[in-house]
Subunit: 256 residues, 2 copies
């Protein structure tokens, strides 16, 4: 193992599609071996921060679901788009019109939503109705300078009953209609990873990430010379996903 990999003190870990498959009545099923892998990573003394673009539930609900599946996880270990968006809204005195999942609304409870001056879109699922999309569009087009904040930009995802369009598709629809570019909060935005590292309390030089296709998950990889990649085999030994994850890589975080 390379020197930098031995120096890794914390990992950013993707969740949906890596630790569990979402959908169905229970909200998903853990991928065989993943519960044990998380336990082993923690037992090895590594810090973990779970990075999710999950916007169909509050972090509390999300954590409860994962705990129900057997994962060792707490709310503080989860970095998700909605709280990150709330920080931005407060900093810039933005009052959102929300097009999000009903279960995510509590994350925005403290935010002033009167007389909106921006639109926040998440994976609204069944709330992506013709009427709701037209309404979000009218709010946006009525602004002098439309501000669209998107909680992620995923294309689609798999649930137990099949593939579903993700928030990115609807973001593109509104972008095109209003001729604006959305500000993406969540993976793969650099700022999102910076928040996750800060919350984990590990500097980028001592952090690794795994789970997502690299070009999305690790902005550093897409740009320039990482020194080395190390397969996850050693960390995830015994996980049924190991053969797949070996083609994913563990990347040291460049100074970002």
């Amino acid at each position: 193992m390379a020197a930098w990999a031995r120096a890794v003190r914390g990992l950013l870990l993707d969740v949906s599609g890596v630790l569990y498959d979402s959908g169905g009545e229970g909200g998903g099923v853990p991928i065989a071996g993943s519960v044990e892998a998380v336990r082993r990573i923690k037992a090895a003394g590594l810090k973990l921060q779970f990075c999710t673009n999950e916007t169909q539930a509050t972090r509390e609900k999300f954590v409860k679901k994962l705990q129900g599946m057997g994962f060792d996880i707490s709310v503080a270990e989860v970095t998700a788009p909605a709280p990150a968006a709330c920080r931005i809204l407060k900093e810039r005195s933005l009052r959102p019109h929300l097009l999000v999942h009903n279960d995510l609304l509590p994350e925005f409870a403290e935010i002033d939503k009167t007389n909106p001056n921006c639109v926040v879109i998440g994976d609204a699922a069944e709330n992506f109705t013709y009427a709701n999309l037209n309404e979000a569009f009218r709010v946006l087009i009525g602004m002098e300078k439309p501000v669209l904040i998107s909680l992620g930009r995923g294309r689609y995802y798999k649930e137990t009953d099949g593939l579903k369009l993700d928030v990115g598709a609807y973001m593109k629809a509104l972008e095109y209609a209003c001729d604006v570019q959305a500000e993406v909060v969540g993976k793969p935005a650099k700022m999102f990873f910076e928040s996750a590292l800060a919350e984990m309390g590990v500097p980028p030089q001592q952090a690794g990430c795994c789970g997502c296709p690299q070009r999305l998950f690790c902005p550093a990889c897409g740009t320039s010379g990482l020194r080395q990649h190390v397969a996850l085999r050693e960390l995830l030994q015994g996980c049924n996903r190991a053969p797949e994850l070996q083609s994913q890589k563990l990347c040291p975080w460049k100074q970002i």
Copy 2:
């Protein structure tokens, strides 16, 4: 009036937003003066071809609606995306999965829709449900090489009860999710105007167009040196839209 303008034998005319405002129970209201303008243009011996991206009704229904408002118009004078798309489907042996308005379905009555190998999307309005969009997406993503045909690419339009997202926005959503580029049938596709000219029986050198913002309606304008533009005032004198239309231009059709 310039020499070329005197040589004009036919006009391509936009309809929605130019001759009438759509929406409401009657399907729209004529813009004051427009019925008379159409009558006067025809009385002057000019041929007319009504070019519409209307995909919420068959041409028969569309013409009936306009006749009801007092317009002198026949089905043969209407160029619309659905019949143009049907020609393409037949030529290329494509079997569509349709995401269109219920009232447009009769235009596709003769088309084989079993075991779809493409998706055709129109302004489906209330049919733009979460379930229908996911279904169209699944059909597309399941193809080895997804083929998406879009009846127009409008961003939005106005109805009497407010602005609505147009087909282009939903086209963008599917394009992004499937990483494909849609083939657009309707304005502003060059082929669509060529069909309209052929149906009118007037060569491009002797045809003018008016109504839409030029850069969308007249591909020739966007590219290179038209000799001259002539305001529509003389043709549309008396129409309440005249002051607006004076900033639109009458363009001779270049050889296309």
